[in-house]
């Protein structure tokens, strides 16, 4: 596994790690130390974007892509015929330090295939993080993956060195997990999450008492769900996320559109990854975390899946037209947040600006509020901005209109073979 030259192993192990979508370097704010390398910014910093448009913030690699497990959805499963490679801890440390110093990256994201046993593998990951922190005095961001089934003591040690910990649930129900990842019982994933959540709360309380108390995963924990590999509905997924945010205080749940990395007959054959569905799930996820929505408001038994035509907020608003329109000059902040097209920034600006002046359509535009969708749900100074009467089907048509207008990309023929009536009437 060490026989390939370093640059090829870097390629292999980057390829094996890239399907983990977690990329953020946010949530941890640590000033630099004089004479040492590294600091963290609360907002996180993206350093580049690759050809698929995803940001590169952390050096995302595996320690090794050899694995004793055989999870059907995973590229690195035992039965898959791909080149295997591994890094020594020294190599990972050198890569991290040198990339970081050149400002290529914001820190390290270290994951791994499982070797020998969960505990052995977890120890390897911790060893790298410990060397970075204690020997190299690296003060940048470290994201460590937890190995399902690792000893709670090891989990507790990992959080001393890492900014963020994560363990991937991958499949939204135990039914699917049992089918596709028979080696990973659901409890081996949930138990460490529960433990980490408890330790984070504890360390936060300790640090309130004394600033010298050690930190534990100051940037919290996250997880990932694969979308489209199993038959779960969006409702199951979003309800699960809501539970994770509420009871385990997760920082993020990532959704990964399933890309077939094997021809296992337990998996569906998808022509393209369900990217739109992934996008809609992220939109719904944001509504849970920043807009005060509950999962049961967005999806219920009658609507178990998100509408692919609209964003989930528009969809919710169309089903609750009796609540609209609302008056921008009076509506509460929480109500404004529920207007389609109005985001956190716009709602804050509206609240700030209306203290001094009455807002009309012109002022809203100046504030940067995008009225494309919002206009049908707002009145400004008593005047309805939508122009048409609010009724469901008509409104749906209006909201969909821009997407349905066909783009005319071909050049117009001067003398078309058949006279095109629309060219005469001007309705192009």
């Amino acid at each position: 596994m060490f026989s390939l030259p370093l640059e090829q192993r870097l390629e292999v192990l980057a390829d094996s790690a890239k399907y983990d979508v977690s990329c953020s370097s946010s949530g941890s704010s640590r000033a630099g130390k004089a004479g040492a390398l590294g600091s963290t910014a609360a907002s996180g910093i993206c350093h580049s974007w690759s050809a698929d448009g995803r940001c590169i913030s952390l050096l995302k690699i595996l320690l090794t892509n050899a694995c004793i497990y055989d999870c059907a959805y995973c590229l690195n499963r035992r039965s898959n015929d791909i080149p295997r490679a591994a890094f020594t801890p020294d190599e990972v440390v050198a890569l991290t330090m040198n990339f970081y110093r050149r400002n290529y990256i914001e820190g390290l994201f270290l994951s791994t295939g499982v070797l020998r046993s969960a505990d052995y593998t977890m120890e390897q990951l911790i060893a790298v993080a410990r060397r970075l922190r204690e020997v190299e005095r690296f003060n940048g961001y470290i994201h460590l993956k937890l190995v399902p089934g690792a000893d709670p003591l090891l989990v507790a040690r990992a959080g001393r060195y890492a900014d963020r910990l994560s363990i991937n649930i991958e499949l939204p129900s135990s039914r699917s997990l049992a089918l596709l990842a028979p080696d990973k019982p659901r409890e081996s994933v949930i138990a460490p999450m529960r433990q980490v959540s408890g330790l984070i709360v504890e360390s936060r309380a300790d640090r309130k008492e004394s600033r010298k108390a050690p930190r534990f995963a100051p940037a919290g924990q996250s997880t990932q769900l694969i979308v489209g590999a199993t038959p779960e509905s969006d409702r199951e997924i979003i309800t699960l996320s809501e539970g994770l945010y509420r009871s385990l205080e997760l920082k993020r749940v990532y959704y990964s559109a399933f890309i077939p990395v094997s021809s296992d007959n337990r998996l569906p054959a998808l022509p393209t990854p369900p990217l739109l569905r992934e996008h809609r799930l992220y939109q719904a996820d944001w509504l849970l975390r920043f807009y005060g929505f509950a999962a049961h408001e967005l999806l219920d038994e009658a609507h178990p899946n998100l509408d692919m035509r609209f964003d989930p907020k528009s969809d919710w608003a169309l089903r609750n037209l009796q609540l609209f329109p609302v008056e921008v000059n009076r509506a509460d902040y929480e109500v404004l947040l529920r207007v389609p097209g109005v985001g956190v920034r716009s709602a804050r600006r509206i609240v700030q600006a209306r203290r001094g002046t009455r807002l009309g359509e012109v002022e809203l535009r100046k504030l940067g509020v995008v009225l494309k969708r919002a206009r049908y749900f707002l009145t400004a100074g008593g005047r309805y901005l939508g122009g048409i009467r609010l009724d469901g089907p008509q409104l749906i048509e209006r909201l969909l209109a821009p997407a349905r207008r066909p783009a005319r990309l071909d050049q117009l023929e001067l003398f078309a073979a058949l006279p095109d009536l629309s060219a005469v009437s001007g309705e192009l």
């Binding site: 004479g35 907002s43 698929d52 448009g53 995803r54 913030s57 050149r102 914001e106 600006a353």
Partner: protein
Amino acid sequence: MARYAYEGDFEGFLCALVASLENGDGQPEFVRDSDAAEAGLFSGELCQVPAVREVTLAFRSRFVAAVSREAFATARYAFHSGKKGIEQLLWRYLLLGLEQGRLLEGMLTVEPVWSINRIARHVSHEAHKFKGFVRFREVTEGFLYASIEPEADVLPLIAPHFVGRVGDRPWMIHDLRRRQAAVFDLRSWRLVSGIELTAEPGCSDAERDYAALWQRYFRHHAITERHNPKLQQKHVPLRYRKHLVEFTGP
């Protein structure tokens, strides 16, 4: 109507602004002292104002007490846009702040607040981008050099970030467009102007290796099934790519 020539940076500008307030000037005009020579036909007398730290600090605390820290920061960011006529806008903004006090922050739709906010936001976005887009290379043993060409004058805004981050090596970030550089000597950083490259900076052996490794990593990070160059270009506009090692490789 007098013209006030100030020393290039924000401190200098504030001193000129204070001078105009002391003179009770109703319609001052501000010019960088490097541009002071090109006077218009009807321009008034030229008044050179030296930058004095105490004057700046006094004005700053006066403005912060009247309005807020955030509003002052907004003014500073807007100044660094280097846009033509920004001094005039800022003069109106700062005066309005002293007059209106805290109300200034709610006047989001009123000029000049609207314009200043918009410009400041633009600059702060670019400054944030460059916290990620600076690419250091080791030109001689241990010394790091980076060249950038940002639209706004972001160097003074991002240099403190890099002092906290790369504290174990001396470094220099060179703004080619403005011919100035932030230089860090392991203790503190300062802004040096009038810097010009006489030759392409050298490159240590380790540098070549790590740049090549980074380029490989960058290529392999992309997932083929999700190929989306349009999205990539939205985040990394072509104008920035010249100085990003992962976009300049083979």
